[in-house]
Structures are given as C-alpha cells and as structure tokens.
C-alpha cells in the first residue's frame, strides 16, 4: 500500500476525500458543500505546489513517482505509474489552479443541486490530474475516458437550453476518437509487452508504416479533443451550453488534454510518423488559426466567439508542437497554460455578466466599461492577453511558437508560420470587435433593463490569480520556461 502515499497519488485522488465528505452533507447545506469543495480543491492546489517544490527542474526525466505492478493477465503488464516531468508539470499546476477558481465562480451561479454539481466537479479534477500524470497507457486511457463522465453530466444537467444535445455530442464525439486510440494502445501494449510509456519509448523500433497507423489512431482521439480544424464542431455547442465553470475547465484544461496527448505520446512514441505528419498537421493548424479567427469575428453570441477563438489559439499550439524545435515546443506548452489563463478568464468574466443579464448576445450590450469600470478594465486586460499583446502572457507563447515554426525543419517552410501570423491581425479584429461592442460605445439595451452592478470582491478574487499570471508570464516567464526547458530539449533532440 506504499503507493498510496506517493505525493502524486495523494494529489490525484485527494479531491475524492472532498467528494466523500460532501456525500455526508445534506443537499440543503449549500454553503457548507461549497466550502468543502473549495477547501478541497485549494488543498489539492497546495499539493500540486508541494509537488512543485520537490520537482527538479534540471532533470529532464519523469519524477516523483515510480511504477507499481497493477494488472498482469494473459501476458499483459499494466502498471500503476504516476509521474511528472517538464512536459506536464505546468498543466498539473494549471489544473490545480483553475479548479478552485471555477468552484469560486459557481458560488451564486449554481443554486440547483449544488451537492451533485460539486461531487462531479471533484471527480472531474481526479480525472484531469490522472490524465496529466499517468505514465502507463492503460491507466492513462482510464483517466482519459473517466473525465468524460463528470463533464457529460456538468453540461447535461447544469447547461443551457440545448444542453442534452451538447452533452451527448461532446460525449460521442470524444468517444469516437478514443476508440481508435484504444485500439492503438492495445496494439502497443501487446506487441511491446508493456503499457509503460517510458519503456515503450526506450524500446522504440516500431516499423515506420505501422507507426503511421498508430500515429493516426492516437491523433484521432487527440485532434478531436484539441479540437483541430475540421473536428471542432462539438466545441461551440459544448461551450455555449456548459455552465460557466464547465466552460472554464473545458477550455482551460480539457482541450489541453488533446495537445498534451500529442506531446506525451505521438511525438516520442512515433518519431518517424511525426516527422512525416508535421507539414500536414501544420497545414491543418494554419487553416484552423485563420478559420477560427474569421468565424469568431462573425459570432453574435459572445461565448461562441470565445469558443471559436479557442480553435484559433489551439491551432497555434499545434503549430508549435509540430515545429519540433525548442522554440516551437516550449512556446506550445507555454501557450497551453496561457490559453487556459486568458480564455479561462474570458469565460469567467462573460459568466459574471451573464449572471446579471441572462443574455450572451453581443449587440444588446454596449458601454459596459462606463457602467462597470472594474469589470471593464479586467476584461480589457484579459482580452489583450488573449490577442497576444507584448508584455502579457499570450505574446510570449505566440511569438515563440511562430518563431519556432518559421524556421522549423520538420514543417519545412516558413509559409505556415507566415500565414499563421496573419492570425495575430485577425485576433485583434475579433477581440477588439467584442470589446468595443460590449464595453465601449453608448449604453446598450441591457443597461436599460437591468441595474448592472460592478464586480464584487468574490468575483474579483476569482479572476485575480489569472490576472497576476498574465503579467507574470508576460514580463518574466523565466521561472515557467525553466521548468519546461530540459524536458523539451530532451524531446526535440531526436528531431
């Protein structure tokens, strides 16, 4: 039972303690339930910081955990193996941070079945942590699929009018991709006699033609999750219907599971296929960047606008990953965090005004900056972070990605990065459009119908950590980059 005391095991399963505690509370004790959930997730965040203190950033390898034999039947060797390295540490921290933030955002927004909501949310955190920490393919798959269930219910029970449709679509779309990945995992596990990722990477030697099939099978699952153009059709539905906290986690963490999957599995396991696929992925990423931005601009619903902007932003991440050089991959990992921070903030803020007005239609707003000055200023900073203004976090990621992709040998042409850089212009176009129509100009209809209140202290506190990160990563990203760099160096050295 020694494995139970592993720091990463504690980190992953700690939210279960809170979920269990909540089960013993009466459904009517809403505030008690909220506090338990908040404290649990804060402690989980604390545990992730504790893991960070033990993390050796100079070590490019997996740390803080070792494999335990778990299931051995019919010649299979499945391990219980949780560990972290530079590729995942930031995503673990991001998950740890965004979960309490999301819970704080539901304080007054979720009044219905608070108990169930919090239990699902805590279960979701277990799944997400597991995804980023599991180093055994089988274990990873379990966590991967497990995240679907609570998210399905979060959208399906607490979502908007078309929540059932959105939840089912989200579930099935992801499932469809995962099936192919499962096949590939089984093939790898049976052929390689192990499901352990580091062992499989060390063994190598998968024939090139098979690599491509396996690559595609994994990519199917991940590309849907990212989502890469043209597999993004589930995203606007899920985002629009999901409750605010669901959108924050969906955009902030769940989408990163896709890009992280490419990074953790496709790149090191199938190096030859990766090189072959790089220009094609870069092409899809570039199309996604431009397409997502253009479609975003035409949206009348602010949540949909932000949802499509994710297609564009994650296109940048994919472009960086498949640049397969230090700048591209580092930028991509940083951009995963950045997107979680800025898009998370945008969804939070949209949710805060939605709570007062119950509409997401851009054109009924207007002049909000005058009516809600604090809200307007925070929104402005988040919007600028999202459009990659230098000095804020988004720029550091986008710039390193584009720089990396521009000179990438694997992608093979500067055109992809050159065209993608047009996305920087388009980002200004749709973000400023949103900001202008909602926050500038004369007061809109909404202001006449509602007595709009500026943010309260709880709401400010909810977004404050994200604002700090926007400036921190933008001005002094060194501590973050130092965590990533050695692992990335190790990863790209083979390319």
């Amino acid at each position: 039972m020694e494995f139970l005391l592993q720091p990463l095991t504690l980190l992953t399963f700690f939210p279960l303690v809170g979920a269990l505690a909540i089960l013993f509370l009466k459904s009517e004790w809403k505030n008690a339930i909220r506090w338990v959930a908040l404290v649990t997730t804060l402690l989980t965040f604390g545990l992730s910081l504790w893991a960070l203190t033990m993390f050796d950033s100079t070590n490019p390898n997996l740390q803080l955990g070792k494999p335990y034999s778990w299931i051995q039947v019919a010649g299979w060797d499945i391990q219980y193996y949780l560990a972290v390295d530079g590729l995942s540490i930031l995503l673990v921290l991001l998950t740890g941070l965004l979960t309490p933030i999301s819970i704080l955002s539901t304080w007054t927004a979720v009044e219905d079945r608070v108990k169930d909501f919090m239990v699902f949310f805590l279960l979701l955190e277990v799944g997400m942590m597991g995804v980023f920490l599991a180093q055994d393919l089988f274990l990873f798959y379990i966590f991967w699929e497990f995240t679907l269930v609570p998210m399905y219910f979060l959208i399906g029970l607490w979502g908007g009018p078309r929540r059932i449709y959105a939840a089912v679509k989200f579930f099935l779309y992801t499932m469809a991709g995962s099936i192919l990945m499962l096949l590939a995992i089984l093939w790898l596990g049976i052929e390689g006699k192990t499901f352990s990722v580091p062992q499989l990477i060390a063994q190598g030697g998968i024939p090139a033609n098979i690599q491509m099939w396996l690559f595609i099978a994994f990519a199917a699952a991940f590309a849907i999750k990212v989502p890469m153009f043209p597999l993004h059709s589930w995203l606007p539905d899920a985002h629009v219907e999901a409750p605010t906290a669901g959108s924050v986690i969906l955009a902030g963490v769940l989408l990163k599971m896709g890009t992280y999957g490419f990074l953790r599995f496709n790149l090191p396991l199938f190096p030859e296929a990766t090189v072959q696929a790089a220009p094609w992925i870069a092409l899809l990423a570039t199309i996604g960047i431009i397409y997502g931005a253009a479609v975003s601009y035409a949206q009348a619903d602010v949540k949909k606008l932000v949802a499509y902007s994710s297609v564009s932003h994650l296109g940048f991440v994919m472009l960086g990953l498949f640049a397969l050089n230090a700048q591209g991959v580092t930028g991509a990992i940083l951009q995963m965090v950045n997107h979680g921070v800025s898009t998370g903030a945008l969804f939070l803020l949209v949710g805060m005004v939605y709570e007062q007005t119950h509409t997401r239609e851009i054109k009924v707003y207007g002049g909000l900056w005058k009516l809600m000055p604090v809200f307007g200023s925070i929104m402005l900073i988040s919007a600028l972070s999202s459009m990659g203004l230098p000095g804020l976090n988004g720029f550091v990621g986008e710039f390193t990605i584009l720089l990396g992709a521009f000179g990438s040998k694997a992608i093979g042409s500067p055109w992809y990065a050159g065209v993608s850089a047009v996305g920087v212009i388009l980002a200004a176009v749709y973000i400023l459009y949103m900001f202008q129509k909602m926050f500038l100009g004369p007061a809109g209809e909404v202001a006449k119908e509602h007595e709009l209140k500026d943010l309260n202290w709880r709401e400010i506190l909810t977004v404050a950590p994200l604002l700090v990160l926007m400036f921190w990563i933008g001005l002094y990203p060194a501590p973050f980059i130092n965590l990533i760099a050695p692992a990335v160096e190790k990863l790209v050295i083979g390319y």
Partner: protein
C-alpha cells in the same frame, strides 16, 4: 568620473511613469485633480531628468554605447531575449524629446482635462486620463531604450495600446459629445491598422532570428554586414517587412488612414501621441536599423518614395479639411512622410532633426488648437447659459444645454474667425507654430526641412520634387487655417465670446514656442554647427554634411511665401462669411471634392477589404461552419445514418435472445442514465453507447483470446 551610477538609473525611465500610474490607479479617485495631475507630471518629469542625466553621462563617456541589463525575458534554446536598456546617442535623443515634450503636455493636460471632463459631465474620468498618459510614457521609453528588436516591439505595441485607449477615451460618444460609436470605431481602427504593420514587424523578426541567430541590435547588424551581396534578397525582405511596420506606426501609405480618425482623442493626446512622439517611432526604427538599410539600397529607395508620396498626398488632403485638428492631422501624416523620406534616403540626421523640430512645433500647434477649441467651447457654454437664463426669465420651455452642444462643433474652422482679439496669447503661439511648420526662416522647421530637401536634391531628384511641392501645400494649408481661425469676423456667437486659456495651459505652450523658434540651432547647416549630427555620429558612424545650398533654401522659401500669399488672396483679403462655401470649391471643382473627402480612400478600403472580409467571415460562420458542417454533415448525415443503421441493427438482433444479457444490461443502464437527464427526448445516447460498447467488447475479446 564614475558614470555607472547614472547608467543604473536607466530603469527609472520606465519605472517612474509606472509608479505614477500605480499611484493614480490606487488613489486617483480620492485625490484632487491637481494632485493627480501633479503626480503624473512629476512621474514624467523624473523620466526627463533621467534622460538628461543619461545624455550627460553618455557625452561625458565619449558617446560609447552603454547597455544596462535589468532582467532575463525569454530564453528558449538559442533565442535569448533580455530586458536591457540601450543608452546611445540615438536612443537618448528620442528619450529627451519624448519625456521633454511629454512632460510639458502632462502639465498642459491638467488644465485641458479639467475643463474637458466638465464639458462632458464626466468628472470621474480625470484620473484615468493621466493613468493612460503615464502608461504611454512608460511604453514609449521601452520602445526607444530597448536593446533588441523584440523589446522595441513591446514598446511598439504598448504605445499602440495607449493610442487605442486614448483615442477611445470618450468611448461612448463622438467628437461632439453625442452618444455614438464613432470614437470607439476610431480607436479600434488605429489598433487594427497598427497590427497590420506589426505583422510585418514580426515576419522581419523571424527572418532576422533564423538568419542572424539573434534579435539583439548589434548581433543583427553584424549579421547583416557580413552578407557580402548588396541588395541580397534577405536584407531587402527584412527591410521591406519593417517598412510595413513603419507604415502602420508612422501613418504612411497605405496604412495612414487611422491617424486622421485618431483625432477623436482629447487634444493633448493628439499632440503627444499622434504628432510629437509615437508616430515618429517608425522613423526611429528606420534610423535604428540603418546598417541593415545600408545593405539594401533597393529597399531604401522604396522607403524614400513611400515617404515622399505620402508627404504630398496627405498635404493635398489637408487643404480640403474644415476641422482644425484634421488639418493638423493630415499635416502630421505629410510631415512624417518628410521624415520617412529622409531616413529612407539614408539622411538619418536630417530625418531625426526634423523629427525633433516637428515634435516642438506640431505639439505647439495641436495644443494651441486645443486651446482654441476650449476657447470656443467656453464661449458656447456661456452662450448656452445665457440663453438658459433668458428663457427661464421668460418662463418658456427650457432647453437643456445638451441640445445646444449637439449641434455646435467647436473644432470646425467655419465656426471660428476673428479669434485674434479674443485669444491673443493662443494666436501668437499659433503663428509661431505655423511659421515653423511652413518652413519660414529662421524658425526651426526651416532648417530641418531644408536639410531633407538638400539631401533629396543631391541624391533623389524625384523625392526632391515631391517634397518641394508638398512644402508648398504645407504653407498654403497653414495660411488658410490662420486666416480662417484668427482673422476676419467671428462667424458664430460662440467664437465672438471665446475666452483665452489659463496659464497652466499657455505656459507649456510658450516653452514649446521658444523651442520652435530656436530648435534650428540644434543642427545649423554650417561647419561647426552640426551638433545633432555629430551627436548621432556616435551611433550611426561617420556622416557627410552637405554644404548649405542657397538655391534649395531659396526655392522652398519662395514657394512657401507664395503659398501664404495665395492663401491670403483666397481667405485673408475677403474673409469667409458664415455659411459661405470654401472659395477653392468652385475653381478646383472635383479636385476639391476629392481633397475634402480624403480622396475616398476610406471608402475604397471598405469596399475592397473590410466589407469583403466581413462577408467572408459571415459566410464561413453561417453557411460553411454552421449550416453545412454543423447542421448538415453532423446532424443530418452522420447522426442520421447512424440512427438509421442502429435502428436496423437493434430491430434485427438486439431483441433476439441470442445476444448476451450483458448487452441488454448495458442498454438498460444507459436508458437509466438518459432518464436521469429528464429531458432526453431521443435514444441517441443509448444506441450510440451500445454500439460503441459492443465494438470495444468484440475487439477486447479478440485481442485477449487470440
């Protein structure tokens, strides 16, 4: 003498205005307007003092470039970017101009904004203005003191942001204070146009990094100079992509269109950001990149021509404008064209010289224009109140004075006239600025413009002729403005009642006026008087100073005087009456219509770029992404087919007892789940999940048993 302590002050360039900003952010609502303004001005003043000290230290140290590192920024692989301050003669020149003119404008703004927020009934927004103004100084300092292209870029986009914030300062109205989207449209337009330029900047940066291995100035220049070929495709590409950035920031063709609209911002903003400092950043960028442009004469020629054509083109538009600030705005575009042409020709000293003098006299002109506008607004305000009183006493229906403000435009020169007597101080200040801009001896503008023309005359005849004609137009539109604004009779009651501005506004103007008169002394075209030139030599290397040419100076002076005389014939001899059309309208016909309507460039951009993009994005979003991809392909084709297939499958096999109970149990379980979600109207979940699970079971079974 130890100079290190002075250099260690360099970070204050940025941190002083940031401190001012933070103080006003935290306490601005509690402090009085005077304190808010004083704190902000002091913060900017500290920047000026530090700039002076750095300049002094640099001169004392023999002009050797000093790099003061502050912190690490982005280190990834071979990409090494740091926050480092670069102190050399070029950067200190910019620092002095920005912080010097900036501080004067901060002080002026205390008086200006005090009245502006009251006319707009928004007293609470006073502090916000100074917060943005301090942020601008900080960003501008990052721009001019950055040691690499990317730190420069941080300031570059930072000032763009400040420009956006300040153009849209009155974001809920138009320039006349009516509820409108106009000001925020102008702000957005500026940001987007700048971003187009920034795209060019980014591509240039990528090319530099992958070819020279660095973005730090010295490394890049070393790399560029090691390329043996002149006009190598690489340097031409880099310099032309940079030119796109220059066109965006310094308002050159084809991206200049945002600058005239930027006049929506309060006048101190127009003076500081959209005339004296920010818009000259492009000129600075070319001067900074001199070693690279030197390796690409083809690009230099294009830069010079862009500047020259812009100079003439914008000057013609200025002739047809009625708004006092719009005239100055197009004049700024035109003058920036002069500077860009100069640095494009490689005449960096002339370009920088004109940048400095232009900062003096154009800031002076804008601020004086602001004084005129406020003067009219004061007159109008009294008028409104007088009416108010009269009507009250007559006990008639009282009109609110908002209604008056709706129709009166205090910036329209057709509403002015005769201000010479009611605003004498402003009048004389304006005259000084106008003469300097028109290039009349011995004002500052005469010397700097002459130097540009001289260089053009020697090396680029086409540029020379374009600029000379532009200079003629410059003198003409300034003459037209002076006659229309200050001479003749008042064309409105408001103009008749206009009042002079307070000292807090006029004293900074007097300083600028003195500089506009004496600024030429910085770099007189006589042996031994090229102070600015020699100063810049520390950074730019050996510079040739062509001797003073009486023909060039004579021709341009003669043209300027002729232009002023013609403007007197048209607008001075018989002053404009209220409601009378512009006397140029009839003789010039459609040409004047073109000038009046800015040659319809905005309309062209809307027709060719903006509307098509809007349509395209609508089409992609509604038709392609939603109706085709989301609704048709997903919901109709994929879901439909699946439902159809699963219906067949379930009919044929699922009800037969041959299928094992496990599947039935799963079916029941999924049915239970879907019932939990009360409003589940269809069986999608069940059928899908069943099929998926069956598939997994079969595959797993096969793999285990094989």
């Amino acid at each position: 003498m130890h100079l290190e302590p002075i250099y260690s002050l360099a970070p204050l360039l940025v941190f002083a205005p940031l401190t001012g900003l933070l103080l006003n952010l935290l306490f601005g609502r509690r402090w009085s307007e005077t304190v808010v303004g004083a704190v902000a001005s002091l913060a900017s003043g500290v920047t000026f003092v530090v700039s002076v000290l750095l300049t002094y230290a640099l001169a004392a140290g023999g002009g050797e470039t000093v790099r003061a590192p502050l912190a690490q920024w982005i280190h990834v692989g071979s990409l090494q970017l740091d926050w480092t301050f670069r102190v050399d003669s070029l950067s200190t020149t910019m620092m002095l101009v920005v912080s010097g003119v900036g501080t004067l404008i901060h002080i002026y703004a205390i008086g200006y904004m005090r009245e502006d927020v009251r006319f707009k009934h928004q007293e609470g927004r006073f502090a916000r203005f100074f917060i943005f103004l301090n942020l601008f100084i900080a960003a501008m300092m990052i721009l001019v003191s950055g040691d690499s292209y990317l730190t420069l870029f941080v300031g570059w986009e930072g000032v763009g942001l400040c420009s956006f914030l300040l153009i849209g300062f009155w974001f809920e109205m138009d320039t006349l204070g009516r509820p409108s989207w106009a000001n925020s449209d102008a702000a957005k337009k500026a940001f987007v146009a700048n971003r187009i330029g920034d795209f060019g900047f980014l591509i240039a940066a990528f090319l530099m990094f992958w070819n020279f291995g660095s973005l730090q100035f010295d490394d890049v220049f070393l790399g560029a100079s090691s390329l043996s070929a002149i006009n190598s495709p690489l340097t031409v590409a880099i310099t032309l992509f940079l030119l796109l950035g220059v066109a965006g920031k310094s308002a050159q063709i084809p991206l200049y269109v945002w600058l005239p609209d930027a006049m929506a911002g309060p006048t101190p903003v127009s003076a500081l950001i959209h005339a004296a400092t920010m818009v000259t950043a492009g000129v600075y960028l070319v001067a900074r990149s001199a070693p690279m442009y030197a390796a690409a004469p083809a690009a230099q020629y294009l830069v010079a021509m862009t500047g020259a054509v812009t100079a003439l083109f914008a000057a013609t538009i200025a002739v047809g404008q009625y708004d006092i600030k719009k005239v100055l705005a197009y004049s700024t575009v035109s003058q920036l064209g002069f500077m860009v042409a100069a640095v494009g020709m490689g005449a960096y000293v002339a370009g920088m010289f004109h940048l400095v003098t232009h900062a003096f006299f154009k800031a002076l002109l804008f601020l004086s224009a602001g004084s005129v506008i406020l003067g009219l607004e004061r007159g109008h305000h009294h008028l409104a109140h007088a009416h108010h009183e009269v009507k009250k006493s007559k006990k008639k229906e009282v009109k609110s004075h908002e209604e008056h403000e709706e129709t009166f435009d205090p910036g329209d020169m057709r509403n002015m006239g005769g201000l010479r007597s009611s605003m004498p101080v402003t009048f004389w200040l304006y005259i000084v600025g106008a003469l300097a801009l028109a290039g009349i001896f011995p004002f500052a503008g005469f010397w700097s413009k002459d130097e540009i023309l001289l260089d053009a005359r020697l090396h680029f005849p086409a540029v020379y002729w374009l600029l000379t004609i532009a200079a003629f137009f410059t003198a003409f539109y300034m003459g037209r403005q002076i006659w229309m604004v200050f001479f003749g009779k008042s064309r409105t009651e408001a103009a008749a009642r206009a009042e002079e501005s307070p000292k807090v506004m006029t004293v900074p103007l007097m300083v600028l006026a003195a500089l506009s008169v004496l600024g030429g002394g910085l770099n007189l075209p006589f042996k031994g008087f090229h102070q600015l030139g020699h100063w810049l030599e520390y950074t730019l290397g050996k510079i040739e100073f062509p001797p003073f040419d009486l023909t060039v100076a004579g021709v341009s002076t003669l043209l300027a005087l002729t232009a002023i005389f013609i403007s007197w014939l048209l607008y001075g001899r018989t002053p404009l009456e209220a409601g009378q059309p512009d006397p140029l309208k009839k003789p010039l016909g459609f040409l004047f219509t073109g000038m009046e309507n800015k040659w319809f460039v905005d309309e062209g951009y809307f027709a060719v770029i903006i509307n098509p993009f809007k349509k395209l994005s609508q089409f992609l979003a509604d038709i392609i992404d939603w109706r085709f991809w989301h609704d048709f392909v997903h919901d109709t084709v994929i879901l439909g087919t699946y439902n159809w297939l699963s219906a067949i499958a379930l009919d044929r096999y699922a009800d037969q007892k041959g299928i094992d109970a496990f599947a039935n149990w799963l079916g029941a379980a999924t049915r239970w789940i879907s019932q939990t979600i009360r409003k589940a109207q269809n069986g999608f979940v069940r059928s899908y999940a069943l099929a998926v699970t069956l598939g997994v079971v079969v595959i797993l079974g096969y793999l285990i048993l094989k």
